[in-house]
């Protein structure tokens, strides 16, 4: 079966790849572009660790047909750090022990970024709602919620 050419923006950079029909965006990012930050968790839309931003909107890359992002802008955790410095959200996650095993962290950070992009000072309930599609089996969520609130409030050592 012939492969399909696909172009899109990946963390501000134009990329061009060939995908097989039915390839999901997560596989395209990890195996064809080499961006290993979005993780494969469940493949069903239940865990959120594959979360990326598509034109600024939070999407699950494992449930996104790669072809549907042609010409669109994809942001992953790989594009979050600012040069040598961690993004304030990443700094807050470190300061507040919000990453334990770390597997959910890429998705949590992208969900948090999607929230703060449209709501820079969220309430605690809004943070809980924003990460409600992301499962963490280590932390009990409290450190993650506190980290996101700290990043939003600017209470992070940059």
């Amino acid at each position: 079966m012939s492969k399909i050419p696909l172009q899109f923006r990946h963390n501000g950079r134009d990329v061009a790849i060939f995908v097989e029909g039915g390839t999901n965006l997560l596989v395209a990012l990890r195996e064809l572009i080499g961006d290993m930050t979005p993780k494969f968790g469940c493949g069903q839309g239940g865990c959120g660790t594959c979360s990326v931003l598509v034109d600024g909107e939070l999407h699950l890359s494992c449930l996104t047909l790669a072809e549907t992002v042609a010409g669109r802008s994809i942001e992953t955790l790989d594009g979050m750090k600012q040069g040598p410095n961690l993004h304030p959200l990443q700094r807050a996650f470190a300061d507040h022990f919000a990453a334990q095993c770390g597997y959910c962290t890429p998705g949590m950070l992208m969900a948090a970024k999607a929230l703060l992009n449209r709501n820079p000072s969220p309430s605690r309930d809004e943070v809980v709602e924003a990460i409600s599609g992301n499962i963490c089996r280590c932390t009990g969520y409290e450190p993650i919620i506190n980290a996101i609130l700290a990043a939003a409030g600017g209470r992070v050592s940059a």
Binding site: G21, G45, L60, L63, T64, L65, I131
Partner: protein, 272 residues
């Protein structure tokens, strides 16, 4: 296994491709079809898409509203004129699923999913579909009863009449996991009251049968009466009639039968 992806600019071309190929599935938001592909569902060999703007149109200005099949739950939540649908839209998934999942796809979501469809069933929505035979409108209840045979048709839109007031339309999803989890049961009620009496009540239930169903016995218990404690008790005790829930990881069939009357009573009496 690689599948063939066919992308069309118009919904009618996509409908034609869908109706002529038994192994074709229509890709909306991806939360059902991509999930099936990720699980290795070999029954799908063709994925059909349509980039037709008509599929993502919202008409919410008048007394009758129409939602294109490709309208996402996030867009419903952003629409102030659709406030009566915000509770069911908000009850679905996390933000990413609401950014992707669509009204049309929800009609096909198997138990325990399909919560938005429970709301549409209580609102007695009409489903506009296009198949090889052309376009037609189907009452949602009829659509759901024949859902297994709808695979070759493309849903274009759903429409329903806006409820008169917030009290007229009520929705409740019971989940064990907070803030978000799959439905144990889902209930929606349309309760128009005229001259102090209920006229034309509709109760819809999710996860109480293989598809979303109307609770006809409970509706009969409400019809023509005032919404008092005795009426509510009669409706609640009739809630299990005609249901056939099954066991799954979120709850047993027995448990669902036990709680459906309790939650219907709370919904009708306006309790949280």
């Amino acid at each position: 296994m690689a599948v063939t992806v066919k992308t069309f600019t118009s919904a009618s071309e996509a409908a034609g491709a869908l109706s002529s190929d038994r192994s074709a599935r229509y890709l909306g938001g991806g939360t059902l079809v991509m999930r099936a592909l990720n699980e290795g569902d070999v029954s799908i060999s063709t994925v059909v898409r349509a980039q037709d703007q008509a599929l993502t149109r919202i008409d919410a200005s008048g007394p009758r509203i129409t939602l294109g099949a490709g309208v996402t739950f996030a867009r419903i939540l952003a629409e102030r004129d659709l406030a009566f649908l915000h509770a069911p839209a908000r009850s679905i998934g996390g933000p990413a699923v609401r950014n992707m999942g669509t009204v049309g796809g929800n009609l096909f979501a198997p138990t325990p999913y399909g919560d938005f469809t429970v709301a549409l069933l209580a609102l007695d929505a009409t489903v506009a579909v296009q198949g090889g035979f052309g376009a037609r409108d189907i009452p949602i209840e009829e659509f759901l009863q024949a859902r297994d045979r709808q695979a070759g048709t493309l849903v274009l839109s759903v429409s329903c009449t806006r409820p008169g007031s917030a009290e007229t339309f009520r929705y409740r999803k019971i989940a064990r996991i907070k803030p978000k989890g799959g439905s144990v049961i889902t209930l929606a009620a349309y309760l128009p009251i005229s001259g102090g009496r209920i006229a034309g009540a509709r109760i819809a239930l999710g996860s109480m049968a293989p598809t979303q169903i109307r609770a006809r016995a409970a509706e009969r218990a409400l019809e023509g009466r005032s919404l008092d404690a005795a009426t509510i008790a009669a409706a609640a005790s009739a809630a299990t009639e005609g249901t056939s829930p099954s066991d799954n990881a979120l709850g047993s069939a027995w448990y669902r039968r036990e709680i459906v009357g309790v939650h219907l009573r709370r919904l009708l009496s306006g309790q949280d």
